[in-house]
């Protein structure tokens, strides 16, 4: 087009018409040009970039859903399952597909006989649920219930019965603290690992105990399901499915039968039993009772059950075997005797026990008020004479006793597959100066030699001590069967002659008219050797002593003495070592006292049938096996709650803390050591956090 020259140009009708024609052609040309441009652009997108956009369309269309992997089993040394997976039948509701929500829920409640509070929960969640997120109606259904819902599906739009796997612990409460439990991953877990598996419904992670420590080995590889979904997340059809790879099996050194026996044998007491194989340090049983049922924890524990457990003064939520710290009491005496022998004292050195000994300006008493008369080492251990050890320990000095204590495992932190352990204290002058800035006093030595004062031990350490006294070797506790360990070395400074003396004395405790007669073995040919202990948890004042020490039966539970026993069998060729601590047991009941519990537990290893018969007879007197008793306790608690409902505001959290603090408190000590930092860590999270996780 020519550039018009405005000034000269004379515009006529004909010229204007020509201009129009030219310009209309330009407009038409532009239209064709833009049309071609658009076609070219479209070709660019749909031909050149076709692959890129095809992939994007496909990733829009196809949604990958993870199938949670089945968790690896935990089996005992004989291959019996301690934790496995149970086929789980469950029913969910998909809100968007429901036509008559009210009627469907009513129908389901009838079919599955759901309790009214569950129906309320379902209605609640249905109101809150948006889109296609399913609402759980019920899980752990029987096959019959599952089938009953499945056949009625045509009448129940939006109801989705399904089959999955849930963790199952056949032994229930007796493995609670050993294995821990599983639960939905917390928001924190997800923030740390960013693994989409963690937020997959139905996926559980180990929350405590071995389940937590071996979580990675137990977790398998997830399967995947490709489904076609709409933009709003509605599933149109399933495309392909890849099945999951289950996690690895873990074989423990635990003997399932023994573990269960030990848990049941602890009766109604708050206590713990640990059994160690003297050949290699394998832990055969590690029971802490009462306990929670890991099955109910793994499906999300109810508020009520949590409240009951945390209010119980027998602290079922604490793993006493690793986190319970107790003054070892007289159970340290064989160890002190070993130190004396190492220090060159003769076992025949005699001390006269008159029932009390003045140290400085304090009068220290023997448990026998009349005194034992002249005692040598064997008699001092057998009769648990305090005066002998008061005197001899002062001659030897605390440093050498503390050194021996550490060599037999006291105060030692073992490399264990548990998230937390408290490892107690072996006090010595350096430790006290560092900790409290005060000089070590004679009375500190006197206190320590009878396992009081600053000295603290956990039940596992006590079992290790028993096994080391039995074998003279530095055995290490061990939970994984077949794991390679360096051979245990002999304890330095301990000769076979020393060991023979100690074993002989410990045999006398049980079989020679000593304090542990209750632990006498019922198995012919198997002699149990051991040492009893009593740990005071309160100071006995001069005034009280003058008026007569109050018996344990008259004291409130929290002030009663702890009862302890450590030992091994057979005494002449030790095969198994045992430790038992009964919290606030107070030696009130011979059947439920530490020596007999330890002895019966050992007897199970030699004659399970006979041991079981005795236990079943005893259990009748206690009101049946633990599960039965716990169910009864739960029912009573529920009833009590129902009665007081609306009048009392329950505060489960503060109660749990109280229990923990009480347990660690030691009124006899001038300044009790602070509770172990793990104390709060071992308490499982409140039920709210479990239920809230999707």
């Amino acid at each position: 087009m020519k550039f018009p020259r405005p000034k000269r140009k004379i515009v006529t009708e004909a010229a204007q018409s020509l201009t129009f024609t030219r310009r209309a052609m330009v407009v038409g040309g532009l239209q064709v040009g833009i049309g071609a441009l658009l076609a070219g652009r479209m070709a660019w997108i749909s031909v050149v970039q076709h692959e890129k956009y095809s992939m994007l369309a496909e990733s829009n269309r196809v949604n990958l859903t993870l199938i949670p992997p089945r968790r690896g089993w935990i089996i005992d040394r004989n291959g019996r399952p301690l934790a496995n997976n149970r086929t789980d039948f469950r029913v969910d509701l998909i809100p968007q597909r429901m036509t008559d929500a009210d009627g469907t829920v009513r129908h389901l409640a009838e079919l599955l006989s759901l309790p009214p509070d569950e129906v309320d929960r379902i209605r609640d969640e249905l109101d809150k649920s948006a889109g296609f997120r399913p609402v759980q109606v019920a899980d752990k259904l029987t096959y019959d219930q599952y089938a009953a819902v499945s056949v009625r599906l045509p009448d129940l739009p939006g109801v989705a019965p399904s089959q999955g796997f849930s963790r199952y612990y056949p032994a229930g409460a007796s493995v609670g603290h050993l294995l821990g439990y599983v639960g939905s991953a917390s928001a924190k877990d997800y923030e740390e690992r960013r693994d989409p598996l963690l937020i997959t419904p139905g996926f559980k992670v180990g929350k405590d105990g071995l389940e937590k420590s071996f979580d990675q080995r137990l977790t398998g590889k997830p399967g995947a399901k490709r489904v076609e979904v709409t933009a709003r997340g509605k599933i149109v059809q399933e495309l392909t499915t890849r099945s999951d790879t289950p996690g690895n099996t873990i074989q423990l050194t635990i003997d399932a039968g023994l573990q269960d026996y030990a848990g049941r044998r602890l009766a109604t007491q708050s206590g713990s039993v640990v059994v160690i194989d003297c050949h290699n340090g394998d832990v055969l049983a590690m029971a802490s009772m009462p306990s929670f049922d890991p099955n109910s924890f793994s499906d999300g524990i109810s508020h009520l059950e949590w409240e009951m457990l945390s209010k119980d003064d027998h602290v079922p939520l604490r793993n006493k075997t690793l986190q319970g710290l107790y003054p070892p009491g007289s159970t340290v005496k064989p160890m002190v005797a070993l130190a004396l022998l190492e220090g060159g004292f003769s076992p025949e050195d005699t001390v006269n026990c008159a029932g009390a000994l003045r140290v400085g300006n304090t009068l220290f008493h023997c448990h026998s008020r009349r005194g034992h008369g002249g005692v040598n080492m064997k008699r001092a251990i057998a009769q648990s004479c305090d005066i002998y050890f008061y005197v001899m320990a002062q001659r030897l000095g605390m440093d050498r006793i503390a050194a021996m204590a550490r060599r037999v495992g006291m105060g030692q932190k073992f490399p264990l597959p548990f998230p937390s352990q408290s490892y107690g204290t072996v006090p010595d002058p350096d430790w006290k100066l560092k900790k409290y800035g005060k000089e070590w006093q004679i009375y500190d030595t006197v206190n320590a030699t009878i396992g009081q004062g600053y000295m603290l031990i956990n039940p596992l350490q006590m079992a290790v001590m028993a096994s080391r006294l039995a074998t003279g070797r530095e055995l290490m506790p061990n939970f994984i069967l077949g794991e390679r360990h360096p051979d245990a070395q002999p304890i330095p400074g301990v000769s076979d002659a020393h060991l023979a003396t100690i074993r002989d004395a410990m045999n006398a405790v049980v079989n020679g008219g000593g304090t542990g007669g209750a632990a006498r073995s019922s198995i012919p040919g198997v002699m149990i050797a051991g040492k009893t202990g009593t740990a005071q948890v309160r100071r006995i004042t001069m005034a009280e002593r003058a008026g007569g020490v109050r018996g344990n039966a008259g004291l409130p539970f929290k002030l009663r003495d702890h009862a302890l026993f450590q030992g091994f069998a057979p005494f002449d060729n030790p095969r198994y070592a045992v430790a038992c601590i009964i919290e606030h047991g107070g030696h009130l009941n011979r059947n439920e006292d530490a020596p007999m519990i330890a002895s019966d537990t050992l007897s199970y290893l030699f004659d399970p049938k006979k041991a079981m018969e005795k236990l079943e007879t005893l259990e009748k007197g206690w009101g049946g096996p633990p599960a039965e008793r716990q169910a009864r306790q739960m029912a009573a608690f529920r009833l009590a709650k129902a009665i007081e409902k609306g009048e009392v505001v329950p505060q489960p959290a503060s109660n749990a803390a109280d229990n923990g603090a009480d347990n660690a408190a030691e009124p006899t000590r001038p300044a009790p050591p602070p509770p172990a930092p793990e104390d709060t860590g071992d308490v499982p999270p409140p039920p709210g956090s479990n239920a809230a996780a999707p």
């Binding site: 087009m1 550039f3 018009p4 405005p6 140009k9 515009v11 006529t12 009708e13 204007q16 018409s17 201009t19 129009f20 024609t21 310009r23 209309a24 052609m25 407009v27 038409g28 239209q31 064709v32 833009i34 049309g35 658009l38 076609a39 652009r41 479209m42 070709a43 997108i45 749909s46 031909v47 970039q49 076709h50 890129k52 956009y53 095809s54 994007l56 369309a57 496909e58 829009n60 269309r61 076609e228 979904v229 709409t230 933009a231 709003r232 149109v236």
Partner: protein, 371 residues
């Protein structure tokens, strides 16, 4: 003389067949977009098309002088309606684009698209020939265009405002205004755009920015363009097949039956379907331009070419938007997008062009009779 009766030969068969083909294709796409169902969109759209075809044929019988006479009154009425809409919107709070007449909702900005062409054409038709290079040829047209443009822009409806301005300016160009004016103002516009940008609403600015880089916000405001490109790109050359589009059927493509109907079509019919559709529209524009070239006078020439360009702007802006070459401004694709008002406007344009076509044939015949 042909043996076929004159009214039949005069009847615009060819253009009607073209329109029916495009609209029929649109109906098929709407049938697929509804998941293989003639309800709710396909049936409505085809009935509407039939009604509007009849309306266009009636329009084509109206003497062309009537359009010329009513160009300014119609323009004035619509301008008043636009002001009224603005007032009602101000009272009701928020933006409102229509007046409720009781039996229907009138959207004056929609009708302004063809009427601005008529008004500006009318102005230039009445302008003495010698004035065309003077200042008097420019400012009245600018006022005619500027007033509705500003009113629609503040609604705010950037897409319609752009179309009104483009339609009016096209007529100015066709009327023979000096070319330097267009080149000069084009350059000025390029300089002014960044300043104008700062006056846009936040959401409009955002749309423009996201248009420039849709992947920056694929789940937010860029979602439309991203999903549309995915639909077109994944269709490939021959498409995924009828009723097999995943983007539209699984609801990933938003507005898949209205503004983004082209993406729905391209996913299932591929590049082939797209090129055929663009070709069909080009045939329609070719018919419009050819009508304007044989039109008997200045007014009809300008109107025929101007209205053709208006339809062209619908198509071009919509396709550019769908393919990620323009921001999302809400301009539907004629005959394809589901919706009544845009089809009414486009059929008005077609009807008027047909009337001009008829007039041109009548005059050329009478001239032929003379000679």
């Amino acid at each position: 003389m042909s043996i076929i009766p004159q009214p039949l030969t005069q009847f615009p068969w060819r253009v009607l067949a073209l329109l029916a083909a495009i609209a029929g294709f649109g109906t098929i796409v709407l049938y697929s977009a509804a998941g293989g169902s003639i309800t709710p969109w396909a049936i409505n759209q085809s009935v509407r098309f039939c009604v509007f075809v009849v309306m266009a044929l009636v329009l084509s019988r109206i003497p062309i002088e009537l359009f010329a006479r009513f160009a300014f009154p119609a323009y004035g009425g619509l301008l008043a309606a636009l002001v009224l809409v603005e007032l009602i919107g101000g009272v009701a709070g928020g933006s409102q684009r229509w007046i409720n007449l009781g039996f229907m909702q009138l959207q004056p900005s929609e009708f302004m698209k063809p009427v601005i062409v008529l008004a500006v054409a009318r102005f230039y038709a009445r302008l003495p020939v010698g004035e065309i290079r003077g200042w008097n040829a420019i400012w009245p047209a600018l006022v005619l265009i500027g007033a509705p443009w500003a009113l629609v822009l503040v609604q705010p409806d950037l897409g319609t405002a752009t179309m009104i301005a483009a339609g009016g300016v096209t007529v100015m160009f066709l009327a023979g205004l000096p070319l330097r004016i267009f080149i000069g103002s084009g350059l000025t516009l390029a300089a002014v755009v960044p300043i104008a940008f700062s006056f846009l609403h936040d959401y409009q600015q955002k749309r423009v920015l996201i248009f420039l880089d849709p992947e920056s916000d694929p789940l937010g405001a860029g979602y439309h363009i991203s999903q549309s490109k995915i639909a077109i790109g994944s269709g490939g050359i021959f498409g995924k097949g009828f009723l097999k589009g995943t983007q539209s059927h699984l609801d990933y493509l938003p507005e898949g039956h209205t503004d983004f109907v082209f993406a729905t079509m391209a996913e299932e019919w591929g590049l082939v379907g797209g090129v055929l559709l663009i070709g069909a529209f080009l045939l329609l524009f070719r018919w419009g331009i050819r009508v304007s070239l044989r039109a008997p006078d200045k007014f009809t020439r300008l109107v025929a070419a101007g209205l053709t360009t208006t339809i062209f702007f619908y198509v071009a802006i919509n396709l550019m938007m769908v393919m990620g070459l323009a921001p999302v401004v809400g301009i539907p694709l004629p005959f394809m997008s589901y919706g009544g008002s845009s089809m009414l406007t486009v059929m008005l344009c077609v009807g008027i062009i047909m009337a001009i076509d008829r007039e041109a044939r009548r005059r050329s015949r009478s001239i032929g009779n003379w000679s």
